[in-house]
Amino acid sequence: MSLRESAAIVGLGATPYYRRGESYPQTELEMAGKAILSALDDAGLGASDLDGFAIYSSSCDPAEVASVLGVPEVRFAAGLTSGGGGCAGALGLAAAAIDAGMATCVVTLMTLQQRSRRLGGSAVDGVLTYAMMSDSGSSPYGGGGGLPPSAAFTANSGLLSPGHSFSLLAKRHMHLYGTRREHFAEVCISTRENAIRRPTALRKQPLTLDEYFDARMISDPLCLFDYTMESDGAIAVITVAAERAKDLRQPPVHILSSAHGGTGKWGPAIFRYFQAPADEFASSGHRPIAKRIYDMAGVGPGDVDVALLYDHFSPMVIMQLEDYGFAPIGEGGPFVAEGNIRWPHGSLPVNTHGGNLSEAYIIGMTHVREAVEQLRGVAVNQVEGAEIALVTGGPAGLPVSGTLLRR
């Protein structure tokens, strides 16, 4: 038994995308409400139909959203643990809730307003807090409990941000396999080419190889363009049972399979201790997920028409191409260099929406939106005849996730 094709995405809603802070004075709650109501309307449904929340990265408080939008009864309110790695997997959570009969109409969403906080900034903000507080012996976390004993093994390392973490994986991948910055550049440039054609994209100026190599180095080997941007906005999708989806306004996009998690020894390692086994260290952490979603769906990499791969940092696209079986391990660099991920003529168009790197970073939900639009046949950069899309969340601390969607 599995949740294979038991549920379908039937509604899609979003606010405009904004550069960091520019969605102000809208709150995250207001943008969430706009995206949810828009998604319900897209499906031909209303707030009175909504009864479930399947979220990730603590995107909203379902209690607050339900009371503000007038949801009559909440029957399911759950989220995947950790952060953006759960994005694609939250769709599986929605399908599971529906398949189990716990809810009938489930929203998955992200809403983001970064006027006064920044994603990935907690460690950075913590730096000065540590520096100021540790002399007095008081705890930045209050409650008298102090920091966890493990903090003293990481705080003084100089590794503070997600970019620092992922540069370590990228460096190791380069060492093992000869991956080069030209390969990272191809990910950035091909993604930008896709963004240029889209009205929703925040970065629409062409990017050349020279500009890439002239860019400020942030955390070597990652330069400015290897990093995602910081954005505001909200995106919501509505999932219902496949049977019910037939009668709704939009062509259903079936949740073919979904998985989240990862190797136990990967753990929170990517941001903390870096203890992953050597053969998995220079990877995206997605290999167990890939196996499970292909097995559940009964398809393989060759059946995927378009891949929406979580691209907070460009090298992670290359590693996911390997871990999802599109290229042999270690050959993701040459795979992109050969033009394989380019739209429209590459063998596997990737991030046709411009990705986190060039369209907007709504913690992965833009990838879900693009997968739905591709399979409805209405994408701006439409992959001709696309039937199966892969959408992923992470790499990050566990869980990372992947979902296969079918037209």
Binding site: S134, P149, A152, A155, N156, L168, I218, D220, K265, Q275
Partner: protein, 155 residues
């Protein structure tokens, strides 16, 4: 050398932002040895697996008992990054600095790695696999910061 909110900040050296150990019984022996310039690590008495940072259970056999073993304090660079953009303006004088992962000699490797600031090194020539050795900075609070520097092998 610059003096600011992080204390004395010099290029290549990430300043110690935590100067207390917040230790519990699982980690205190590490800091006791560190205060004497010794690197020690807990080894599972059942299966012999090292775990760094010290943690309450063996991730291989789930047992809790350990013996504390002194390590040579040397290792190899497993991976690293050169941080060129400061995440706080007062960290600017430390940039560029090199930080990354070291695999400790005398251990099994994965599961006992440390994340550290690599000092006294040339960011342009440091390479994965280079041999390194530990250098300690001590604080009156009982905290010590381990950093690693390249061992001059006459390359």
């Amino acid at each position: 050398m610059t003096e600011n909110a992080f204390g004395k900040v010099e290029v290549g050296v990430f300043p110690s932002i935590l100067t207390e150990t917040y230790a519990d019984e699982t980690t205190q022996p590490f800091w006791d040895a560190a205060a004497e310039d010794r690197l020690v690590a807990p080894r599972c008495t059942t299966c012999g697996t090292f775990r760094v940072p010290p943690s309450p259970f063996c991730f291989e056999c789930q047992q809790q008992a350990v013996e504390w073993v002194e390590l040579p304090g040397t290792g190899t660079v497993f991976t690293f990054t050169v941080v060129r953009h400061p995440l706080h303006p007062d960290l600017g004088p430390a940039c560029p600095y090199v930080s990354g992962v070291v695999e400790l000699d005398g251990t099994q490797g994965a599961g006992a790695r440390m994340i550290v600031n690599f000092v006294d090194c040339d960011p342009a020539t440091l390479a994965i696999g280079d041999p390194v050795e530990i250098v300690w900075e001590h604080f009156e609070s009982g905290m010590s910061t381990p950093r690693f520097r390249p061992i001059n092998t006459g390359r």
